[in-house]
């Protein structure tokens, strides 16, 4: 029985701690967040910044290949420099983490707010409110994210701060439709529970009942959903930047770095491998952590979804 009471967060942590893979993922995510937050500090220690051009470090005769071994790795430039521009790769990578995580989290917040508000309103509202809101949610479930986001990002004036715009577009167009439908279904279920009826018999009004009896019951599925949204948003941001409509230069972003990486893979392989690896590790860690959170919140259902770990008993239980 999942009953995260007042100590819900602590209980969640306690259950999370028992899963080794989730714990490792949590540490990785924590490190990534630290890197993102401390990006200016880290680059200051290195003595570089992500936007300064270093034309002297690339061989313009050979099309801008970084000079020196391993793509220009040196004491000044820990991971080498970007081909053509000579910008510091380490600085661009850690500042890219800032953009990736920031945009993904902001988009997730937009999705959560929209999804929960519309879902709860549909679940509690009368037949017409429900019909209209559910239809709207349906439309957004059907909204082809990449195409719509591409189009939207193209027509908004470039004066609008780009990372904020990307977060808004991703948040407004994707994710929340499904969440709203799920929240609505959950609200309808919770609404019929006897303890909600008992609260009504106590004499409480609708608002208080919604806050005290319904919202806590939504916490588990919403957190679980959020855990899926964050890594998805990271991938979407990277994809949009890869296509050249997301975060625009000079602001660094992992997806953007990959745009021209294939041209340079022989001369400077780390220009491809570093952002690709960073994306992979980040999404992987967030996905594993998300699975862990789900397992911790609902051990029964999650044992079927979790991937490879922490479900030995269940697996054995099925063999006969």
């Amino acid at each position: 029985m999942s009953a995260p009471g007042a100590s819900g967060a602590r209980q969640l942590w306690r259950r999370l701690r028992t899963q080794r893979s989730a714990l490792v993922a949590a540490v990785v995510v924590a490190l990534l967040v630290l890197v993102a937050l401390g990006a200016p500090l880290l680059t200051a220690i290195e003595g570089q910044d992500p936007t300064t051009y270093h034309p002297s470090l690339v061989d313009s005769a050979r099309g801008g290949v970084p000079i020196g071994s391993f793509g220009g790795v040196s004491a000044e430039h820990w991971l080498g420099v970007e081909p053509q521009t000579g910008r510091d790769l380490f600085a661009r990578l850690v500042h890219g983490a800032r953009v990736s995580l920031g945009v993904a989290l902001a988009a997730t917040v937009v999705q959560l707010v929209l999804g929960v508000v519309i879902g709860v309103a549909a679940g509690l509202g009368n037949r017409w409110v429900d019909l209209v809101l559910t239809r709207i949610a349906d439309i957004f479930v059907a909204m082809p994210l990449m195409v719509v986001a591409l189009a939207l990002l193209a027509i908004v004036p470039t004066s609008f701060p780009r990372p904020v715009l990307v977060a808004l577009v991703v948040g407004l167009v994707s994710g929340w439709g499904t969440l709203a439908k799920m929240v609505r279904a959950q609200t309808l279920t919770l609404k019929e529970l006897d303890y909600v009826a008992a609260a009504r018999l106590s004499g409480w009004g609708t608002v208080r009942i919604a806050r005290r009896e319904l919202l806590p019951g939504l916490a588990t599925p919403v957190i679980t959903f959020a855990a899926i949204l964050v890594p998805t948003n990271i991938t979407v941001e990277a994809a949009l930047s890869f296509l050249g409509v997301g975060v625009k230069p000079p602001t660094p972003s992992w997806g953007q770095m990959l745009t021209s990486a294939d041209v340079w893979y022989q001369a400077a392989p780390q220009y491809l491998l570093l952002p690709a690896g960073a994306l992979f590790v980040t999404v992987l860690a967030l996905t594993v952590l998300g699975d862990g959170v789900r397992t911790a919140l609902d051990p029964r259902a999650a044992s079927r979804l979790s991937v490879g770990t922490g479900r030995k008993q269940e697996a054995k239980g099925e063999v006969s």
């Binding site: 009953a3 303890y195 009826a197 008992a198 018999l201 106590s202 004499g203 005290r212 009896e213 239980g317």
Partner: protein
Amino acid sequence: MSEAEKAPSRSLVEVTDLTVEFGELRAVDRLSFRLQRGAALALVGESGSGKSTVAAALLGLHRGTGARVAGAIEVAGVDVQEAPEQTLRRLRGGKAAMVFQDPLSSLDPYYAIGDQIAEVYRVHTRASRRAARARAVEVLDRVGIPDAVRRSRSRPHEFSGGMRQRALIAMALACEPDLLIADEPTTALDVTVQAQILDLLHTLREEMGTGLLLVTHDVGVAAESVDEVLVMRHGRSVEHGPVSAVLGSPEQPYTRELLGAVPRVDVPRASSEAPEEPAAVVLEATGLRREFGRGKRALTAVDDVSLTIHRGETLGIVGESGSGKTTLGRMLVGLLEPTAGEVRYDGHARVGVNPAVQMVFQDPVSSLNPRRSVGESIADPLRARGEGDERRVRGRVRELLERVGLEAAHYDRYPHEFSGGQRQRVGIARALAADPRVIVCDEPVSALDVTTQAHVIALLGELQRELGLALVFVAHDLAVVRQVSDRVAVMRRGRIVEEGPADEVYDNPQDPYTKQLLAAVPALDPQIAAQRRAARRELAVV
């Protein structure tokens, strides 16, 4: 034939020192019994007694689940503990077949019922697809499914509960097993359907000589169906013997307690303090009607029901599933608005809820918010009334907790820390916190074991006398309703078919439906059970 399949021994089932452990928990503890060919034995016990675990062990279903099974199990000549997987599979469904409790979830929702039976038949025989289908139709017809050819193509959700149970029995019969293991085969069913299923099992046994191992919590069901009873508690055998001896003159204190707690439909209410003169009417319903859905799909759940409830009395409302009794109860407390008609409280028409009319719910799990301490839940009516003094709120909640037989210190505990019976007490305390004059109890004890049931009913009675409460007791269990009610209303298809003083309705029913209901209630005495069975056959003919 492998070595494990020896020549048939004398007994059909022989269990010696069976112990089953799930981790730390010892579910079954050195249990031994035997069952002769064609005989019938019931394992009777309350929840957690380990009876279903024994049933599963007979087919070796604990293999590979991590449970530790010790002792010897021999079923139809197969050593279940040692037999190889292949032999065990031949036993399962071939020589010993299991009938499960919940017939809806026990069948695959995606396949036609006939196909599912045919699949099982083909596992055990080399029959062709066509022959297996024919066999499925044959057994479906055998268990009394009308128009079996057509119905065999239906999926489980297109069957009623009773029909599904019949289909499961048909599946069990497909390979003509020597032993039927029935795990609570009638628990999910209405009492009239239960009687039909028990009669069917009885007839099949008479005609086919199949042995029966019946697992049930209901002593009455056991009395109806078997020759021998084994009473279980905490995984151990408490008492074992012929059904008439164990139920007629029990030797062990626990058996006596269990039998004492079973509500009797044929015995008048113990301490009936019927008020000499009619007390004031507190709640009155006139012409209540409730529809669900609109247009062609509209369904009338309650149709023109009028009732009066007097101060200090208990009105029992009894009916089978779908009779509209729950909808009626919810309209009485104001959780549902009637489509037509009105509810008057103290003579005034009422809309919405009123703290003076409270409810105790059926499901002790869903009636308490798992995320709030029970004290907070009980304090709700006090706070909603505007009581701001935190000390007085806590004081009153502690008082209520003690009044319903819990401890004041339980205030800060969460629902999952309590048993079902305790949670129901919390629910009662919460209802009392509103200082109600009427409490509608919707199946308040149907989720509880009989001994717990008796305690909760006793508590409700005490509170009623003490506080002069009027109770509306909604339930499907005719015996329970008789034990608590001054007056009884019998509902069927949204209408009240018969209403009157409890003893009159039970001892001298007028409506044919009431008669049918009462005839279907299992009797504790096997001889009476046999008479009833005969009587039911006659009623069915009429």
